[in-house]
């Protein structure tokens, strides 16, 4: 018997409507693949990348907290852990889409006779090699997330508890592997959509996006779980305050990295570098370009600046939604001009992909969350987390 979902316990799992809409969305995407394959591919690819990076955030967050010897997050640690359960399924979707485009889709990633080609890129972007190492990235993240989850569950029972330094060392190994694999994945999965273009800060840029999107999701999930019951006593305003601070900080970090990339390319004005920004600064795309900065940094920065707003669940929820929309716009702006064409288009296909992936993510995380005790009651660090004062 499937355990009751505490998260969407009420409307989402019991009412058949979301499932029905998700089925319709899936059907729509199948039709989309037949009619407009490039656009359907891009829509699903962006949504799957979004969900994969948000799932990966769960493991990264827990690992970073472990490395720093953090205790404040223990009370709601099961939420990021549940998020990390999406790594394998969404990783499979991303790699499958990648393989479909490179191996079977007939669109070569990198025509070898293109001018300006570097011999290394031609070798590095061979379809088989690219898909093979993408599988490797996902495997590394999956193993790391599974290990983090298992030591966390083991902490509940005295006999199976591992020492803090053991967990710390393991988390550090995962963080180091994550840094390398995630940078490579960002380059392979997004930068290589335009194979002759390059930016060396690209990996960090997408890492900052992983953090903002992940934190916004974590805030939404934790607040929903507090309202729904499982975290009512555990997730305090102090925890919310710190998550708000982290969201504020990482939105500024995103802006910083965004600007570092843009300013250096603008200043040097090399054709092989500006080729990424020129189409995005002309016509309708230039509006999206500005909106992207406003949603990912402008609004969150202004709204989260006062102390009181970081302790206000209603406001923080709204900011989290703004940041999530900003993430979607950021991915859209990165992928669409290369894959679909030099025109702006948002319609049923994009909405269908977004809803389908969001529904799957919600169901996966919800199921994973309810498969373990909501609060790590046996953890020796729980008391400290509950009495935490921001």
């Amino acid at each position: 018997m499937r355990p009751e979902s505490p998260l969407f316990g009420d409307p989402m799992t019991r009412s058949p409507l979301p499932k029905l809409v998700a089925c319709l969305a899936a059907g729509g995407l199948v039709v989309g693949f037949a009619v407009e394959p490039q656009r359907a591919w891009a829509a699903l690819y962006c949504a799957a990348l979004f969900a994969l990076s948000t799932s990966l955030f769960g493991a990264v967050f827990v690992a970073l907290a472990n490395i720093c010897g953090g205790t404040w997050h223990v009370a709601f640690r099961r939420v990021p852990e549940a998020m990390s359960s999406g790594i394998a399924p969404f990783g499979v979707v991303v790699v499958a889409l990648l393989a479909w485009r490179t191996l079977a889709g007939g669109t070569a990633w990198h025509p070898p006779d293109e001018p300006g080609t570097l011999w290394f890129k031609a070798w590095w972007l061979q379809p088989t090699f690219m898909v093979a190492r993408s599988v490797g990235y996902v495997a590394v993240w999956m193993i790391g997330a599974t290990w983090l989850r298992s030591v966390s569950l083991a902490e509940d029972v005295r006999e199976s508890r591992r020492s803090i330094s053991h967990v710390q060392r393991g988390s550090a190994v995962f963080a180091a592997l994550f840094a390398v694999t995630f940078s490579l994945a960002a380059a392979d999965w997004l930068m290589a959509l335009e194979p002759t273009w390059y930016s060396t800060v690209w990996g960090i840029y997408w890492f900052s996006g992983l953090m903002t999107g992940g934190l916004a999701t974590l805030i939404l999930l934790a607040l929903s779980l507090r309202d729904a019951g499982p975290l009512r006593q555990a997730f305090t305003d102090e925890h919310l305050h710190d998550l708000g601070k982290l969201l504020f900080g990482f939105c500024c970090f995103w802006m910083y990295i965004w600007y570092c990339q843009y300013m250096l390319i603008w200043y040097a004005h090399l054709p092989e570098e500006t080729m990424y920004f020129v189409p995005r600064l002309t016509g309708a795309w230039s509006v999206v370009f500005i909106v992207n900065v406003g949603l990912n940094w402008g609004l969150p920065f202004l709204l989260l600046l006062p102390r009181t707003s970081k302790r206000n669940p209603t406001l923080l929820r709204r900011v989290a939604v703004v940041v999530l929309v900003g993430r979607a716009v950021d991915l859209y702006l990165a992928a669409y001009p290369e894959v679909v064409g030099p025109y702006l288009i948002v319609g049923a296909l994009e909405l269908a992909a977004a809803f389908l992936i969001a529904f799957v993510a919600w169901s996966l995380w919800s199921r994973s969350f309810s498969s373990a005790p909501a609060v790590p009651a046996g953890s020796p660090l729980l008391r400290e987390s509950l009495e935490y004062h921001a």
Partner: protein
């Protein structure tokens, strides 16, 4: 600052918090607290208003940002335009780093200066504390002695069960760092 006061000394953080809570609810006016390290939740127990320092920080930062943007525009585009790599005279991307640094600089200096000014902290100022041990392992609460009703007995009564080390009158004595007491 030399108005009469009572100093209530505690040995533990939780006693201090409990004592402050009781005294405040009994209607005593608390002038200040001396603690060896920042005690969480003390501001709430004392009923302190949120610090206005963040507004000083915001205003100073805004002055730094806008002032530097204006200055860069004036130097690079108005007073002495120089062609740098064919870029427009007034280029926001080029101005942003310096404007950002000046924002951080003015916000930082402004906040620290405002804090020192409000606390009247300047180099060479003699420290004023009830006992040197508040820099080590004692927690002292200074109660305003605004009327004769506020005396050692009434404070002790209001503190009830709280563990107190001592209640003494304080004339606001000034201690130099080397003071042996």
């Amino acid at each position: 600052m030399n108005s009469p006061a009572l100093v209530v000394t505690f040995a533990h953080e939780r006693d201090l918090l409990e004592g402050a809570h009781r005294l405040r609810h009994a209607g005593f006016r608390l002038r200040d607290v001396y603690v060896p390290y920042p005690v969480h939740g003390l501001d709430r127990v004392l009923g302190l208003r949120p610090s206005r320092l963040s507004w000083v920080c915001f205003v100073c930062g805004a002055i730094g940002l806008l002032g530097m943007l204006w200055f860069e525009h004036w130097t690079a585009a108005t007073d002495w335009p120089i062609n740098v790599g064919g870029k427009p005279w007034n280029s926001l991307p080029a101005d942003a780093p310096v404007a950002f640094e000046s924002l951080v600089l003015l916000a930082g200096f402004g906040t620290v200066s405002a804090l020192f000014a409000v606390c009247r902290l300047y180099p060479g100022r003699a420290s004023r504390m009830p006992s040197p041990r508040v820099t080590d392992d004692r927690f002292a609460l200074v109660v305003e002695q605004s009327s004769a009703v506020v005396n050692t007995q009434s404070v002790r009564r209001a503190l009830g069960e709280t563990n107190v080390l001592s209640i003494e009158e304080w004339s606001g004595r000034i201690l130099s760092v080397s003071d042996p007491s």
